[in-house]
Amino acid sequence: MVDALAIKGKRKKTTSVRLEVKPIELPDAPPIDTKYFTIYLANPLNSGESTTLEVLYVFTHFLEPFPAEIAQSESQLVFYNDTALILSPYHIKQQTTFIKTPSTKVESFIRMEPTNRVGTEIKYGPYEDRPPYSISPIHVHFENNSPFAVVEELVQEIEISHWGNIQVTEHYKLVHAGARHKGVFSRVDYQSRQSSNGASSFRYLLARLPPRVHSVYYRDEIGNISSSHLRTDSLKNGRRFIALCVLNARCFDYSVANVVSSFMIMHLHLNAAFAIIPVEAKSELEIEPRYPLFGGWKATFVIGYGLPLQDFLFESSDDKRYLNFTFGCPLIGMVVDKLTIKVVLPEGSTDPSPVVPFPVEHHLEAKYSSLDVVGRTVVVLEKKNFVPMHNSHFQVYYTFKPIFMLAEPLMLASAFFMFFVACVAYIHIDLSI
């Protein structure tokens, strides 16, 4: 159950200080299936002092749809299994857990006194004086109709061409990972009474692309899919500011479907913190698969676009170039089970080295494209269980001598030259005896 990847971002109350997190192995731990992470505090803590930490866990495939198969007119109910007490190797003096559900429809939940339910919030606690490694399993069975869109496999190929263009091609395998659809699909019900029919299905997906994107195409194996809209921001100065309200208390981020993000804190803080975050101009691509996706239905498609090179390729200090790109899936709020990013470096580049802020598997391949003699180096990065919190930048460093840019034009020019010389020679040489 806890085989998901957890990432951490910690902030103190007013100053957000990111603390380092490392996974460690505890050999003498109790035999529960757990993973351990060490958080390194900013300043060493003397006895009698206290500090506030905020820990963010993200789990994928955590909500279990129950019933596993639903008809078109039923709404989706899921199970959330957890413990009321935090699993912790430390002695717990006092703990409260809040669980926030997306709507007020809760089928059932296990009571663990003192338990209280108000509206969309279930409060477990406060529990006092618990020994370390104590757990008390609870589950909540509630209605969750948000689209459970999961990308089973995403292969993103970024091709760098020093002639001024980066071509990105993405191959998606999309599946609806919620309760499976059984029985009849009635189009007339779906079109007429949309609120009660197909509540857990989804039709639209939003992808965020960098600004100044061009030549966007959206197709699948059969052909072009015509149902898509591209909106590009036409802001010249490229900077916008939005206010983001962060409630650093408990909540389910229910707009991101089967990703559970639970903020759990040691002490109760109910303050709302406002953060002004600068946002770059973006292009938005709204795509619609050929048919609305119900539980268990699949769709595959390819999105491709071109980007100007100067936004993404920079020179580093030691005469190397590096590509600065966003790691991840342009589709907003999507969980990717297996993400593969291939960065195709131009011909003649040497010494590739990726720098990614979190652990990924990487290896090198070779790709033969048009007019290639030695093949292009491909840096392949693979990641399992990718969530939108991972959306950070990564860099790929490589050395490239500018003289190699002339390789292809010279090759073409010399080929034609040889051909014409051969023609001229053939016409003028007299081969008769």
Binding site: V184, S186, R187, V188, R290, Y291, T300
Partner: protein, 488 residues
Amino acid sequence: MFKVAVTLVVTVGLAVCCAVIAVLIALVASSPTKGWSGRSLSLLDPTYASKYIPIIASVSEHQPPTWPSYFMDINVLAFLVPAGIIACFLPLSDASSFIVLYIATSVYFSGVMVRLMLVLAPAACITSGIALSEAFDVLTGSIKFQLPGVTSNAEVDAGETSSDAREAQTDEVKAEKPDDTSKNRPSKKSKKKERELAENPPAKATAKAKAEKKRLLALPLEASVISLLLLVVLGAFYVVHSVWAAAEAYSAPSIVLTTRSRDGLHVFDDFREAYAWLSHNTDVNDKVASWWDYGYQTTAMANRTVIVDNNTWNNTHIATVGTAMSSPERAAWEIFHSLDVKYVLVVFGGLIGYPSDDINKFLWMVRIGGGVFPHIKEPDYLRDGQYRIDSQATPTMLNCLMYKLSYYRFVETDGKAYDRVRRTEIGKKYFKLTHFEEVFTTHHWMVRIYKLKPLKNRIRGKAKKSKSKTSSTSSSKRSGTKKKNPWQ
């Protein structure tokens, strides 16, 4: 020794050839149509297909063409071809007689089957090319002849001889008139003729005769220039029309329909939507039954096995599918179950007005099915000889599978179940499906996919018998329950 070997080889070769020819003759003679296939026989006797093989008659490309389709396909050539035929006769050589035969037979056969317009096209191009070339010859010749300062008549090479050239002039004028092209006009040649005769010392008689023949054929300068320009413009219009016809009529992908409305282009991508759904959301081994028009598309895009496809190779198999579509639900279920079909695909254009849907093709399904299975009779589906689906339709029509699968829950779209293609409200509006369930309908209702419901485990009312039959296969169940409907 060598001669013996040669004779041996030659005799063996001859014997083998004779044997092969004998086998071929035997094969041809033993077939009922003496080796002619159904399609080619229907060329000789256009009523053959509709009497014996309705599937050939059902293909729309096998119908006789309408008059406008000639103009659409060969355009300007339609009136240049007769001129070309006449031009082929002057003079009649081997090549030109071949052209005449070619054009005559291809015109006849294209009149029988519109598909053979393909054969008419090259013949029409050749003959009209001949006609145009003759016209250009005359016009350019007359322009060249009348250009100022050109003494072309003196350099004419020797042609035929003519002793009484002058007296024959008037005769020749009369004789040449019907031979000229339609753009011939009376000319004012007399002045020119006398001037040239005067300045031309008596040269050879042949040259003179040739010159005078040419003079007679010469049209006035302005007329020939204008006619030349008009002919070039005619050619240009022909090119424009051909490009337009190729773009609009022959390149339209019939799988993606587009209409232009006030707010731009509206795309009906329902076929690809249905095929994509089939390819992603069904099992790889599932079989899809539909009418044969969609066979290749389903195989290519949905990647599923179909029962019949565009090859139309097995007439009995197509007739089986046609019978299933024309039967009531239970009989159709049994036929499809015996074919191991899981999904049935139906094309329905009633919601948006798409005219080539399965209800319009349904009578052909009845005819083809009835050609092999005699219990399907076409008059059962017609009321007073008319094909209807409204309240006046026959009960057989209202209960057949095609009707039910096309109009299932159609009344819930607009409350009145108005079919935009047939322009009427349908007859039976409220009904349930007992043996099929709807698994997918596309956005504009153009493709509807149904799944065969599996058999129930128990048969009500036959509890004692079913216990002993629990181990029997479903086929024995089907044969043993003719009296009681096991699905109710």
